[in-house]
């Protein structure tokens, strides 16, 4: 589905991502993990075309640079970290922007599936009752749900989620991740998620890419990548012992 060859992202002379290659196939849920500054978000930015990059990235065999913005948005939905409207739009208006690429274009053709897809997205994210609410009156977590609803309304084949659990309380984290795994069950879909939380990564990711200083340290089936040794090498600490220690604290 998505394939990256020798992908490099530079900010000035410093490389945030160097020479990463990646093959994402249908049905896979990739998690990109690594410490701060490892280049996770830059990699996700390059794959979602919001950050310039060197190397080749193809989607269904076609260079992603060759897609028009609308063509790309019909295939790839992105939940990024930085947003928040300046003016007081309603929940429905922001989520409805997900349908832009389906009705955009010069002649502005109508979007017959739009209302139904938007309804579905609002229902899935539990926002139906908040649809007329002003975005300014929502909590950070609720706002994040609105942007997730926007991505769902977009109805893409590939979802790129950059730290989707940010601002979310535990029940909604769980809801979001089960929602995405439910979404992934439809054939022809795939998910790429940048994650800080290693437990979530281990629980939901089917494939993992471990990054350190912009380079791929390991990638493959999540169980084989997120090992004690790999994590120790990347994070410079015994992550397993730390997590076990935390769990032990609860058992006492």
């Amino acid at each position: 589905m998505l394939s990256a060859e020798n992908l490099t992202v530079r900010y000035g002379s410093a490389a945030a991502v160097s020479g990463v290659s990646l093959q994402v196939k249908e049905g896979e849920w990739w998690v990109i993990v690594g410490p701060n500054g490892a280049g996770k978000s830059s990699l996700a930015g390059a794959l979602s075309r919001s950050v310039p990059f060197e190397g080749t990235v193809t989607l269904d065999g076609r260079d992603i640079r060759s897609f028009s913005p609308a063509e790309f948005a019909r295939r790839v939905g992105v939940l990024s970290q930085n947003h928040g409207p300046v003016f007081g739009f309603t929940v429905e208006e922001v989520a409805g922007l997900g349908r832009y690429a389906r009705r955009g274009g010069f002649l502005r053709r109508e979007d017959p599936e739009g209302p139904e897809q938007l309804e579905k997205a609002l229902a899935l994210t539990g926002l139906t009752s908040l649809r007329r609410r002003n975005m300014f009156t929502l909590s950070g977590g609720e706002q994040q749900r609105v942007f997730l609803a926007q991505v769902l309304a977009q109805d893409p084949a590939l979802m790129i989620l950059d730290e989707p659990a940010n601002h979310l309380d535990l029940p909604f984290q769980q809801e979001l991740f089960s929602l995405v795994s439910e979404w992934l069950k439809t054939p022809g879909r795939a998910v790429i998620t940048v994650l800080h939380d290693l437990s979530l990564a281990r629980l939901y990711g089917t494939r993992a890419l471990l990054l350190k200083e912009g380079r791929s340290v390991a990638q493959g089936p999540a169980g084989q990548v997120l090992t004690r040794e790999n994590l120790r090498q990347v994070y410079g600490m015994d992550v397993f012992a730390w997590m076990q220690g935390m769990l032990a604290g609860w058992q006492e």
């Binding site: 919001s50 948005a73 930085n82 947003h83 007081g88 739009f89």
Partner: protein, 332 residues
């Protein structure tokens, strides 16, 4: 579109009112007689209505619509509630052109009286080219913070040049003030027609960017992710808004506040959705500037106030009143 009909009726009503009122009040039937032919109660009324009032009120209406439309579009594009059509610096460039023409006595062969207007237009387009070239040189994406920064710096530079000119202007100071504060006195049908062509030519593309500007206002990166052709939309809005502002300034001088405040007032009433905001701002801007011009020529009659002074005064007071009322009634 019952709303559009209602707004059109409102604009027409205010238009007629502004043609009626002035240093002499002209009865409605004399206005009808002047326009459609017929007996007028005093012959001088016909000339006042036909050659003074109507072109002037037309200019005020079209200019108000243009300024407010540009302001709404720029605020959405730059995600900045302080932006308006002049944020890019084009209107100060235009004022500098007009001032240069006044001080140096530059004029076009055959169009002696149109010297300042022609120079203002020339300078506004020159400024637009310089600003866009600078923004393009900084990064290829016209990043909004760069645009705002370049606009501010450019405006400062031009203001400095304008101040130098004013220092040497002597008795021509009054004419320069006319350009920096704005005035619609002595406008002609030709000028109204030029404004109308500008509004149709550059305002229509702005009006068609409603969905795109909604996406921008929510977030530029978000706009990209939902499939908005970000760079093309930016260039369209920047060029069209600046060109339209350039035409406005070259005809009526730089009228402050309309482009800034009208979109805010409209947003408080009808929400931030640009598909409503853009057309409603244009209607409201037309009504506002026609009334402001009416005030400028009647309040201290026979003295006439610069229209920019009136728009700032009325605009500030109206905005503060509406803003506080709406805050009391809940967040909008």
């Amino acid at each position: 579109m019952g709303g559009a009909a209602l707004w059109t009726a409102g604009v027409l009503a205010v238009f007629v009112l502004c043609v009626c009122l002035g240093s002499v009040t002209i009865p409605l039937r004399d206005i009808a007689a002047s326009v459609f032919g017929g007996e007028v109660s005093r012959e001088s009324y016909r000339a006042i209505v036909t050659w003074t009032r109507i072109p002037r009120v037309l200019c005020a209406g079209i200019m108000g619509a243009s300024l407010a439309l540009c302001g709404a579009a720029m605020q959405g594009l730059l995600r900045n509630p302080l932006a308006d059509g002049s944020t890019l610096g084009v209107s100060s460039g235009a004022a500098l052109g007009a001032a240069l023409s006044i001080v140096l006595g530059v004029s076009l062969p055959g169009l002696e009286s149109a010297g300042p207007a022609a120079m203002a237009m020339l300078f506004s387009f020159g400024s637009l080219v310089i600003i866009l070239a600078l923004a393009w040189g900084m990064d290829r994406n016209f990043a909004t913070h760069n645009i705002i920064l370049i606009g501010v710096v450019f405006t400062m530079l031009v203001s400095a040049l304008l101040s130098i000119l004013i220092t040497f202007s002597g008795e021509k100071l009054r004419s320069i003030t006319y350009w920096t504060m704005g005035s619609l006195s002595g406008k002609s049908y030709e000028q109204a027609a030029l404004l109308a062509v500008g509004l149709v030519l550059f305002g229509t593309p702005l009006l068609l960017q409603g969905r795109e500007l909604n996406a921008f206002a929510v977030g530029e990166e978000n706009a990209l992710h939902v499939g908005v052709p970000v760079r093309r939309v930016k260039l369209t809005v920047l060029v069209c808004a600046s060109a339209l502002i350039g035409i406005c300034v070259s005809i009526g001088g730089s009228v402050a506040f309309v482009g800034l405040i009208i979109p805010h007032i409209v947003r408080l009433v009808s929400g931030p959705n640009h598909r409503r905001l853009l057309p409603v701002s244009a209607f409201a801007g037309a009504i506002f500037l026609m009334l402001a011009d009416l005030a400028a020529r009647t309040v201290l009659s026979p003295l006439e106030l610069p229209i920019g002074v009136v728009t700032s005064l009325i605009g500030a007071v109206t905005f503060i009143t509406i803003f506080y009322r709406s805050r009391k009634g809940g967040v909008r």
